[in-house]
């Protein structure tokens, strides 16, 4: 019975690490709708994965135009990502890193805050939006005194500029754009030729169309024990877009954000060194465990029964720990994020308009299958019209308030 308890203990400590929800598989099977359906009852998933699943569900809802419901999910996960202290930390050290509660990498927490802010802004809550954009800057900034990374996600800075304009705060607007213009002109991060980084250009425009391309990074566990976590960039053909309003071209979009760049330009994680050490320890404990069992058996043969049993017990413990613990890196991440974020800004007369977005690959060839037509744009008399659209022909932009606030689980969905 003691042996049985010994075997049960690691399982309890690991929190029964099992397969989590496979969002990539669901996307392949039925797209955003499948993800929304599969994740209807968040409580059915292990607590350690719920924050990640909420972010996936929020992205899926956003993709089908359920913006209010998406905002609620982003808000719920925002609270967990920013107020929670996590959980299963000891199990992550001892057994498997994946058993710890997912709280997101800095770039994922930043993107969560950015989307939440964007949705607050789009729905007439600019002050809540500002708080989210400030938090996005905060989680994307390291210890500046130690010369660590500073926030450099341009879409967030542009949206902060829009709130300053809404507040009629010219000083705030200027300070924000000065900060943006001080960023290193690195084309991997954003297109430095973008003409909208001045207060005049920002004040002139009343319409922002955020065009999202491709897919964000994913992670793989590599090395002998899978202890090295590698951030990978998925392949996608689209490189830029062209936006038309009422049939007239406004021109090419400018790249302002790159999720892979954001994911790979932060400092290394504290967990990485530990995982390397754990990988080495796994080998050492297996050998040491086998040796100790051997020595224990020899001691028992020579008449030192108690000492032999203790040594063999320690050896068995080491062997079990070596066999049951995993040095594999945690590869959970928000794979539903876009790869790149582009912007088209313009001054458009108030009223209803139709938007068309065409996508192009690196050689300038249009990716016809991805073209989106008749996207509804409603420009208000005062303030901004903000649209988010993605290089996915199934992406839905809500036509009105009713569609925006629709329940994704209603029996007869109002959306297309």
């Amino acid at each position: 019975m003691r042996w049985f308890s010994l075997l049960l203990l690691p399982l309890l400590l690991t929190g029964c690490v099992g397969a989590t929800y496979n969002v990539a598989e669901s996307m392949k099977k039925g797209g955003y709708r499948q993800v929304i359906e599969d994740t209807r009852n968040i409580e059915e998933f292990p607590e350690r994965d719920q924050t990640l699943i909420l972010n996936w569900r929020a992205q899926a809802k956003l993709g089908l135009g359920y913006q209010e419901s998406a905002r609620n999910d982003f808000m719920r996960s925002w609270n967990m990502m920013n107020n929670s202290q996590g959980g299963n930390v000891a199990a992550a050290y001892m057994w498997n890193e994946k058993s710890k509660y997912y709280l997101g990498e800095p770039y994922e927490r930043m993107m969560n805050s950015y989307y939440l802010g964007l949705l607050f802004y789009m729905h007439g809550k600019p002050e809540d939006a500002m708080a989210c954009f400030k938090n996005a800057l905060y989680v994307d900034t390291g210890d500046l005194e130690a010369n660590e990374y500073a926030a450099d996600f341009v879409p967030n800075m542009i949206m902060r500029s829009r709130v300053y304009i809404d507040r009629r705060d010219d000083n705030g607007l200027k300070t924000q754009l000065d900060e943006l213009n001080r960023l290193p002109k690195d084309a991997r991060n954003f297109d430095p030729n973008c003409p909208w980084f001045t207060p005049e250009a920002q004040k002139e425009a009343n319409t922002l169309i955020w065009v999202e391309l491709g897919w964000g990074p994913y992670m793989t566990a590599e090395g002998r024990h899978g202890e090295i976590r590698v951030i990978r960039e998925p392949e996608y053909a689209e490189r830029y877009a062209e936006v038309f309003i009422n049939g007239q071209s406004l021109g090419k979009t400018y790249k302002l954000g790159d999720t892979y760049y954001q994911a790979t330009t932060r400092g290394g994680r504290p967990m990485e060194e530990y995982l390397k050490a754990k990988g080495i320890a796994k080998d050492v404990t297996t050998v040491a465990g086998a040796v100790a069992i051997g020595v224990g058996a020899e001691l028992a043969r020579e008449g030192h029964g108690a000492a032999g049993a203790i040594t063999a017990g320690v050896g068995l413990g080491l062997l079990l720990w070596g066999a049951l613990s995993s040095a594999e890196a945690d590869t959970r991440c928000n794979v539903l994020l876009p790869g790149q974020i582009h912007l088209m800004m313009a001054k458009v007369p108030p009223g209803k308009h139709e938007v068309e977005v065409r996508y192009y690959d690196g050689s300038g060839r249009e990716l016809g299958r991805q073209r989106q037509r008749a996207l509804p744009l409603n420009v208000p008399e005062r303030g901004d019209a903000v649209m988010v659209v993605r290089s996915d022909p199934h992406y839905v932009v809500p036509r009105n308030e009713k569609e925006r606030a629709a329940d994704p689980y209603a029996k007869a969905p109002a959306l297309r």
Partner: protein, 207 residues
């Protein structure tokens, strides 16, 4: 201990663990006592907002805004509570603060002492539509032409924060400021502040 009783003990233990894991209890707590809140955040708590609201009302009464105005104009002053400005990193603070402040001000004063102008944009849009309908004869107009209230004072709040982290702890100093502005002269009638600093522990191994 027999095998059966040992097995029963294990099953009971497992069931106990399952119940603990699945239990979703909610407890009603006092909004003025943040010590009762199990969530350890360095952001604003409801008790902070209640404290700031109390300070605003305290200032308003201490400065005898209503008495002075009525002595001068023989009428209650009209106040418009302006959208608070949120420069913290915590969303969802502005609306709850504004709603609580207006409700408390209305609850703790009479209409003879002070009147309030509702400036929420959605209400303003509805009022404009209603007035248009009245003017066009589509709706009854009980008292002849009346116009919307012009505010004598703006009551404005701002939340600013200084946020820091060393990866293990997060510290947020949140400064709540509020001011009453004369809309005719832009005179600052009063300005108050309330500073709250909180530190919370973060999970050191989250990444």
């Amino acid at each position: 201990m027999s095998k059966t009783s040992l097995l029963s003990l294990l099953i009971l233990l497992f069931m106990g663990l399952s119940v603990t894991a699945c239990g979703n209890e909610s407890t009603r707590v006092d909004p003025e006592d943040d010590e009762e809140d199990p969530i350890q955040s360095s952001g604003p708590y409801s008790s902070d907002l209640i404290e700031v609201t109390n300070k605003v009302i305290e200032q308003f009464k201490k400065q005898k805004i209503s008495d002075n105005f009525r002595a001068r104009y023989n009428d209650a002053p009209i106040i418009a509570v302006i959208r608070p400005q949120n420069d913290t990193r915590f969303p969802e603070v502005t609306q709850i603060f504004q709603e609580n402040l207006v409700a408390e001000l209305l609850g703790r004063t009479t209409r003879q002492e002070v009147r309030f102008s509702q400036r929420d944009s959605d209400v303003q849009a509805e009022i404009s539509k209603e007035k248009e309908a009245k003017e066009g004869g589509e709706r009854t107009d009980r008292t002849g032409r009346r116009t919307k209230l012009g505010a004598d004072y703006f009551l404005k709040a701002k939340f600013s924060s200084l946020s820091m982290t060393d990866g293990e702890y997060e510290s947020d100093s949140i400064l709540y400021t509020f001011e009453l502005i004369d809309t005719e002269t832009d005179e600052l009638i009063f300005k108050g502040k309330h500073l709250i600093k909180r530190v919370s522990e973060k999970s050191a191994v989250y990444r």
